[in-house]
């Protein structure tokens, strides 16, 4: 149906893809996996002729017997949306904010009306039918709504409805579930599978998530630095990988059930949160939660977006004022402390944020970034300490005088860790520290983190949506949902024998990078 034949794409001096060749048959789901910069998205966009003008392309892109590269602008437009359609990653920005859902669906339907043989569908009726097909309730009402009035999952369903509007032969889905929560992700993957079965559409699934691959793909194409390193059936590639890179990639994927850390009773709590409530304009973001972190203990705080986990984390260090309840740090109620008395406490806390690119000052050198807490808290002998820290996070002395933009994402996150550890904190708050990183980078950061935590024995509140990551690091786990704590306990109990329905659903929804196991999980999920 769709075939790439020795496709090479270059932007100036940069080779985005090198001699990429693979085929997609009708009704088949082919997953193209790789880390950022592997050329997987560029490969996909090229099939619609949507590359920027400065891209130089050699090789062939065959779609239904024609080479896409030889088509005129008009022929390409007839192709797009009609024979080959695309589902993009971020459904908020990928839909036009000032047009209704109905308008945008109708556009997808009517643009190719002239090419259709036989009956011309009534756009409104067809739009309703499409929305029903992708499982949106009250489709007539949805047509009048604007993208911002829908949730992320609903918007992604609209994107998919738009893609299938003209019964394309191929759908390219570029990270279709990356911006979504796991439970929503599971629904969208089910929808794509169902559409493939019903319509016989070929799907090219571009993703970095091995779990998503295991869930949906029939065949897998692994890309690394612009080249295809391995192709094969999903069972072969994921269970019996032959290329070194694939092996490394799979090894790096954190798996649920690989955790080994035990929980002990909390004797000397570093942090005690009691009946904490945070409201924003009457809306309870955090609703009456209580938990403790003991000395030297890692507590994983898990939940989906909007569950209140980040707000709760901000409260624990005084960045957010609680509406009600109390937060005790090292035995002192922080609400009763003046800003001056709070300072020695903050010196004992380190923080790591999700996006190291924006949490490091772009105009400070790496050494200055790491030294900043030392300067603020008037510590002596910065230079030696900075060298020690950079060494501890396995960054060479050469990085000292570089600037954040000169480092990779993983290196920047190492700098953040060094900065957080600068004052030898007793408590570390880490908010999604690895979710912006590629899996292989994530694996090395997590390994580093585990090693440092064992050596320095700091306590840690580790906030994450990724259950497998938390499973690897945490002694105890707190599960949040809609501002409330639904379950908390030792890692082994919560992940091994969850008591609450929500925890079970969350665990069931997270895809595992094993196609056989994933099939069983799907079957048992019903």
């Amino acid at each position: 149906m769709l075939g790439y034949d020795h496709l090479s794409i270059t932007f100036g001096d940069v080779e985005a893809t090198k001699e990429v060749s693979f085929e997609v048959k009708p009704g088949e789901v082919v997953a193209v996996v790789g880390e950022s910069g592997s050329g997987k998205s560029v490969t996909a966009m090229s099939a619609l002729g949507l590359l920027p003008r400065k891209a130089k392309v050699t090789g062939r892109i065959m779609l239904g017997g024609r080479d896409v590269r030889g088509l005129s602008g008009k022929e390409l437009r007839e192709l797009r949306g009609n024979e080959i359609a695309m589902v993009f990653q971020e459904p908020m920005t990928a839909l036009n904010p000032v047009h209704t859902i109905g308008w945008q669906l109708a556009e997808a339907i009517t643009l190719h009306r002239a090419d259709r043989k036989g009956g011309v569908p009534d756009p409104k009726q067809k739009a309703v039918e499409l929305l029903r097909m992708v499982g949106l309730d009250r489709p007539e009402h949805r047509l009048k709504q604007y993208p911002h009035e829908l949730s992320g999952g609903m918007r992604q369903r609209v994107m998919i409805a738009m893609a299938i509007a003209c019964d394309p032969k191929v759908i390219i889905a570029d990270e279709p579930t990356t911006a979504l929560d796991v439970t929503v992700q599971a629904e969208i993957l089910d929808l794509l599978r169902e559409l493939r079965d019903r319509l016989g559409t070929a799907i090219v699934l571009i993703t970095h998530s091995m779990g998503v691959v295991a869930d949906l793909a029939d065949r897998v194409v692994v890309m690394y630095r612009g080249a295809v390193v391995e192709t094969g059936g999903v069972d072969d590639v994921l269970l019996r990988p032959s290329h070194d890179y694939t092996k490394r990639l799979l090894k790096a994927v954190p798996r649920l059930g690989s955790g080994a850390r035990q929980a002990e009773d909390v004797v000397e709590p570093v942090l005690s949160v009691r009946n904490l409530v945070v409201s924003f304009g009457g809306q309870r973001a955090v609703d009456d939660i209580s938990f403790q972190i003991g000395k030297g203990e890692v507590v994983g705080l898990v939940g989906e977006s909007g569950s209140g986990k980040t707000t709760a984390g901000r409260c624990t260090v005084g960045l957010q004022k609680p509406t009600d309840g109390s937060v005790e740090l090292f035995g002192q109620d922080i609400a009763k402390l003046s800003a001056r008395k709070m300072r020695p406490l903050t010196a004992r806390i380190g923080m790591i944020f999700q996006d190291p690119a924006s949490s490091l000052d772009p105009r400070m050198t790496i050494a200055e970034c790491v030294a900043e807490p030392l300067v603020l808290h008037k510590a002596k002998d910065h230079r030696k300490r900075v060298d020690e820290l950079l060494d501890a996070v396995e960054l060479g002395a050469a990085t000292r005088d570089r600037y954040p933009h000169e480092l990779s994402g993983g290196q920047r996150q190492r700098v953040s860790i060094a900065r957080a550890l600068a004052l030898n904190p007793d408590l570390l708050i880490a908010d999604e520290p690895t979710s912006a990183l590629d899996v292989s980078v994530q694996a090395s950061i997590l390994e580093l983190f585990l090693d440092l935590q064992r050596r320095l024995k700091f306590s840690c509140l580790f906030i994450s949506h990724d259950l497998a990551v938390v499973d690897m690091l945490a002694n105890r786990v707190v599960v949040m949902h809609r501002g409330k704590i639904v379950e908390q306990g030792s890692r082994a109990d919560v992940f091994g024998a969850p008591r609450e329905d929500y925890t079970r659903r969350l665990l069931a929804a997270a895809p595992v990078p094993d196609p056989v196991e994933q099939r069983e999980r799907r079957a048992s999920r019903g």
Partner: protein, 350 residues
């Protein structure tokens, strides 16, 4: 759910059930939010206008010579001048004078012109519509040229034609209005003699429209003031929007570039241009002042200009009041217009 004002505005239409976080009348957050928003904007407007009248009043009284000399002429004796000043209350301290003025203003009395023997309210009433005609026509012409120009430049961005037009609009932008007007007069009225040098002089609006040929140059001059601003703004807005993800989606659907610009991007870009129009109301007004003087157009600008020459304080104060009123309503209209056009802030009737 109860919401604060900013949240209610942001969440917009789809949350009819949310209640206001700050009052207990049981109104929806949206309705209450809008009511509070409008209330504070009106309070703000009143304060701004009050401050403007204070500043202008005190500044006017710093002008040496004062209005008496201007009105009575250089022949007038000291006694005559003192008698006039006493009659007008100019011998009292300025703050007292201001309080008198404010007292009359609150009763809707803008005072009498020293020179024209007419009430200021009447004068403004006659002249304001003419200025509005000039301003509205200028704005329309500016938009008619600026929208296609800005879009065209954005579509052909970073090519020689774009650079040339950017340079040209920058040139217009940085040229003072009176110079633009002079050039138009010399080229089109004196050398080519296509249009008269003077604007229509008729008393009625009908008469002004009847003499439409004489209206061309003043309108073009007025348009020149804002044309460059609008087209440059629109160009950058369209350029930004063309990089958005939703444009990529439209392309992937098979939409043509023309369709993408006219149906997808333009609606997004015009939303912000409409908001900008409101903020440019005072600029348009002050542009009219120069244009009207240049073409001797009997609008509010010319009235203001002549009053300034003769220190006719009541007229000056009255016109400043109208302009500051226009400024605050302009920015209010801009906010409301944007809220109405942008579906993310608009309320849809259920």
């Amino acid at each position: 759910m109860r919401l604060g004002f900013a949240q209610a505005i942001r969440k917009g239409t789809n949350h009819e059930g949310d209640l206001c976080a700050y009052c207990c009348t049981g109104r929806t957050a949206w309705g209450c939010g809008v009511a509070r928003f409008l209330f504070w904007r009106v309070v703000q407007a009143v304060v701004v206008i009050f401050v403007v009248t204070v500043v202008v009043f005190f500044l006017l009284h710093q002008i040496p010579g004062g209005p008496a000399r201007g009105i009575l002429g250089i022949q007038a004796t000291e006694d005559q001048i003192q008698a006039f000043e006493h009659e007008q209350g100019f011998d009292q301290p300025v703050p007292i004078q201001y309080l008198h003025y404010l007292g009359r203003l609150l009763q809707g009395d803008l005072g009498e012109s020293f020179q024209l023997n007419q009430s200021v309210a009447d004068l403004i009433g006659q002249r304001l519509p003419k200025t509005l005609v000039l301003t509205v026509l200028s704005t329309l012409v500016a938009l008619l040229v600026a929208i296609p120009l800005g879009v065209w430049q954005a579509v052909r961005r970073n090519r020689p034609t774009d650079y040339l037009l950017s340079a040209l609009t920058l040139l217009i932008y940085s040229t003072p209005v009176f110079l633009v007007g002079f050039v138009f007069i010399i080229v089109f009225a004196i050398n080519a003699a296509w249009f008269p040098v003077e604007a229509p002089q008729a008393d009625t609006l009908g008469g002004i429209f009847a003499d439409s040929q004489a209206l061309v140059l003043p309108v073009l001059t007025g348009a020149g003031v804002v044309l460059a601003v609008f087209s440059r703004y629109l160009r950058s807005s369209v350029v930004d929007n063309l990089d958005e993800d939703y444009v990529r989606t439209a392309r992937a659907k098979g939409a043509s570039e023309t369709r993408i610009v006219t149906r997808h991007v333009l609606k997004n870009s015009l939303t912000s241009l409409v908001a900008m129009l409101g903020y440019y109301l005072p600029v348009l007004f002050s542009g009219a002042l120069v244009t009207e003087k240049l073409f001797n157009y009997p609008g509010m600008g010319l009235l203001f200009w002549n009053a300034a020459q003769t220190s006719d304080f009541p007229i000056l104060l009255g016109v400043v009041l109208v302009i500051s009123l226009a400024t605050v309503t302009g920015s209010l209209l801009a906010d409301v217009a944007q809220a109405l056009i942008d579906p993310r802030t608009r309320r849809v009737k259920a």
